[in-house]
Symmetry: D2
Subunit: 332 residues, 4 copies
């Protein structure tokens, strides 16, 4: 099942070693201006190249196959594909004997035993987040536009990296990344995300609480370990009188709840933080089991990998959040 | 939309001030022994009465309306209801002028303006978790039984309270609860949940990752502020070489990932922690806005409320986890 | 899967030999006046007693468990149950050896082999149409009210029996039913259904065409053999110039299409006909196979059965149509 | 909503005047041999060119974008696209003033008023059935293969044209088509469809009866006016003793029910008939309303159109049936 959402419904398809990957979005309103250029900025934010990210090239040009005519959405399903530049490689066969720690090689091999099935060969590719970013661009257009129509400033969603490897001091990140790369090791991070301009009452009281839907989407991003809203884990150590957000004439006067009461947006910004694990693929040798020799062995993963893929993750968090909010807005 | 799950599908219905609340569960396998007594233990764990919880009486006896004949499930939809003892009260009208901080009075009033609509009157009742606990009992029966058939020990799900008000020292909880009750204030907590005996490969790689589904269900519980799997937020400050779980002959040798790789269970226990906020309703006066007088005012909430509803929440966390896992097991 | 509809979603539950059967309806708008008396008329139309229908008593009193407060719907899920008067009977065990022609005894026994499972014992009870009729009452209230708000006369759905046993001459039906009852045989019929006052454009161009949704619901009624819209099967023998409905200033000037173009309502009444088979249970001896003796044998079904259950079916056709149209109207 | 099916789920996308149309199929099992050549035969059966069908050229070459590697399905979503040869034409603007009888010009213009929206401009293109035929090819592969694995002959689905313009005598069809073409008029037809080799018990007792699902899919085909199973409309005029199918040792000895009892397949072939209307677009002048001049006017539709599109419809009926049965088989 590769579909998410109720009204703004997105379905992801494709393998990184097949001809193309893509996304089909059902429920996009008609008459939104949309061209392939609109995707450039967010795709660039996800692309490798910055310090701490992998220098591999990817073919990241979107092609719109349906749902847009003469530069405007038509209201029928929107299909965007990305051609894959590289055809199938045999890179992954070695991981059948020695599954990489922190990867799904082992679990996928148990779940799908087909030789042909790419899900069974360790190909849980991060490339799948590329169509997510594309869907996020469309979702953000909906969020911006809908509110503007009603005289508002539009809804904005912004995610940024707050910590790398436990360090919040941005001026020290370069040094930290360089040193970690030298060790052949990797780093995680914490992402902070806010959405402003939301109407009051998005979400549903129970199964479809805003937190339920946002966390569902965020944990689909590979490598996420935790999420917390507002005061988050700290709330568990606060008194009610400290954590409760009193109201002022314009709504809550502080934001311990992260913008949600009883599952519904309360007028304050939606605010949450996401913990991202360190990149699993590291050059540094790891002691792990060899299922062929049936002995403990040493694995050093070759190739170039992100020291800290959390650097590329904020735009994906933003996309996921926008996808959830666009769906809630269209249902509302 | 009050439905959750794909194969083990649960739908909750009812208001705390109507005749009954209940749950209908689609997808329950036939031939599971089930009677109304099976629900007693978990319902008691959720019931008020322990120190730090409210001493109100509730009518918590389940009635099975369909799906069971001669003490065994039939495979057709299972319906369980709980009659409500108290009819409609006017308790909530005062919160129209002064919405309670930490409650949905304000957001619900904006979303639903109908005088009759209980969703618009602040009745986001915690009683809705009673049918969830009932569904959890059925889910746990499926988890225990299915694995046992194949010679295993069955799948168990256990949640326990780990911290109250930031304090992990259980011997000090009584004192802490008593002191906080005396102040008219409230406390939150942290719940630890583990599921053991899971097959490898439950879950799907993307939208239906185990973490996505579990967090979706957990955030439906009123008052949850955060969730983290395995090393959780600490993972963001670890190196890859520390956080990665190397394999041994029997699977992962440690559990930094919380039992999930690439969205799929990896054979280690599923393990996560949940942050619960302090009870929102407190006797201690709170400064908040009065929308009638259009001035800041002071609100002291009457009645008896849980000092720490986190004491009653572990069985709900357990139920939600079992519901998600039963669904994944039946799909697998 | 016992759920139908997207916004006005109905789920049926219960067995005729368990404590109750019922329906839960999600998506009912708030503030519709509704009481248990509203169901009497349609339930009476479905009830046995008229000539040609079975004289058995049933317990047909609805009980509203949720979704209504102070006589008005609340907008949350509406649950209606019907207690079953008779507990489990052993009537059906004989059909294990000799499955009744025209019944699901044989197919159900192959599909579900559980001794306890009522689906495996021939209990495909017609009683399941009772909650459908109840849901139809709610749907008709929505159809009537919504259009009235906008100054219209409301949407009405009317189904009537047009033929019994191939005879359209109503004055001869009594005689035909009496004679057929005397032979221990049974009769089918044709039902004509129209919905007037529909807005233009209900439905979707492809999978959710009006005809697709209506036929889906109608074929869920036990014993339906065919459905045709507008000119129906006769259209296959017409020229385009005869079958096409030209437009006048107020829309189509005739109704060969049955009120639907390209899957969407076109302003003319929705009009279709339904073929209902003769009652399968007949007293007249039938030669059929005995799976126990492994020889052809003779089966005479005891008890009192409808000579022509098509007499009771129009209100069910009406309910199904209203359920589909209410869903389309709420989505529109 | 452009999705159909529960496990074998198909989503159609694209406009005939955009870059491409296509289908994404979720739930295709891994390891089915599949190449672009597999689609040729069925696509040719749908293609224009035979007597009575339109001589226009279409670009009907499928391109597989995902879900197949090295000639075998991978188990992940299968995407097939068809590039559109012709870009947007202005052909349809004239129908804004005078909507074509039998088309959706009028209803779509009321439903969607956007100038850009192709759904609002009369573009309810028959081209959408091309991806349906492609999905049918995949579905038929599943039906053939699954049963073969278990030693059976596989499930086959066959549809053929039985009548044209009310004439069952095939030798007279040529003459009838030629004469009707000369008049600038059109013809309908009746299609007969059978599926053999089905296991007993496909389908569900109520909402998802086999007849419900098949009719849902069949009525999505543009121009279908009726469907009947087994004895169909004739059953309404039969006695129970005539219509009932007695059992022999191998199952039902005749097929008045069309292979379904109580919504479930009963071992006999699934058998039904479909009424197809005459082509709506005819050269023969039609009196209809001109919404611009606000007077009755005469419309003669230019261009070349099928005299009888029922000639091209059997392969589409076959595809729809296979899609439904493959879904039921994978759920079973």
């Amino acid at each position: 099942m590769d579909t998410f959402g109720r009204k703004f419904r997105i379905s992801i398809f494709g393998e990184s070693h097949g001809p193309a990957i893509g996304v089909i979005i059902d429920g996009v309103p008609a008459d939104i201006e949309l061209s392939e250029e609109d995707f450039s900025e967010d795709i660039a934010r996800r692309a490798p190249g910055a310090k701490g990210t992998t220098p591999r090239k990817e073919s990241d040009m979107p092609e719109i196959l349906s749902g847009v005519l003469d530069g405007y959405t038509t209201g029928s399903p929107l299909t965007i594909i990305f051609r894959n530049a590289n055809t199938r490689s045999g890179d992954y066969s070695e991981f059948e004997a020695m599954p990489r720690p922190g990867h799904a090689d082992y679990t996928a091999a148990v779940k799908w035993d087909s030789a042909n099935d790419p899900r069974g060969g360790g190909h849980f590719s991060g490339r799948i987040t590329l169509p997510v970013v594309a869907a996020g661009v469309v979702a953000k257009k909906i969020l911006e536009g809908t509110a503007k129509e009603e005289g508002g400033a539009g809804i904005s969603v912004k995610a940024r990296l707050d910590e790398i490897g436990g360090c919040a001091d941005k001026s020290r990140w370069d040094e930290l990344l360089t040193a970690t790369a030298r060790e052949g090791d990797s780093l995680g991070g914490i992402i902070d995300c806010s959405a402003e301009g939301l109407p009051i009452g998005l979400g549903e009281p129970f199964w479809d609480s805003v937190e339920s839907l946002v966390s569902h989407a965020i944990f689909a991003i590979p490598g996420v370990r935790g999420i917390e809203f507002g005061d988050g884990f700290k709330a568990s150590a606060m008194k009610g009188s400290e954590h409760n957000d009193p109201f002022g004439p314009e709504g809550p006067v502080k934001n311990g709840a992260g913008g949600v009461n009883g599952g519904l947006t309360n007028g304050a910004p939606l605010h949450f933080r996401v913990a991202v694990k360190p990149t699993a693929s590291i050059a540094k040798p790891q002691k792990t089991y060899n299922f062929e020799t049936e002995k403990m062995d040493t694995l050093a993963i070759k190739g170039r990998h992100d020291v800290c893929f959390a650097l590329r993750t904020p735009v994906i968090v933003e996309a996921m959040t926008a996808i959830v909010l666009a769906d809630l807005l269209l249902i509302y």
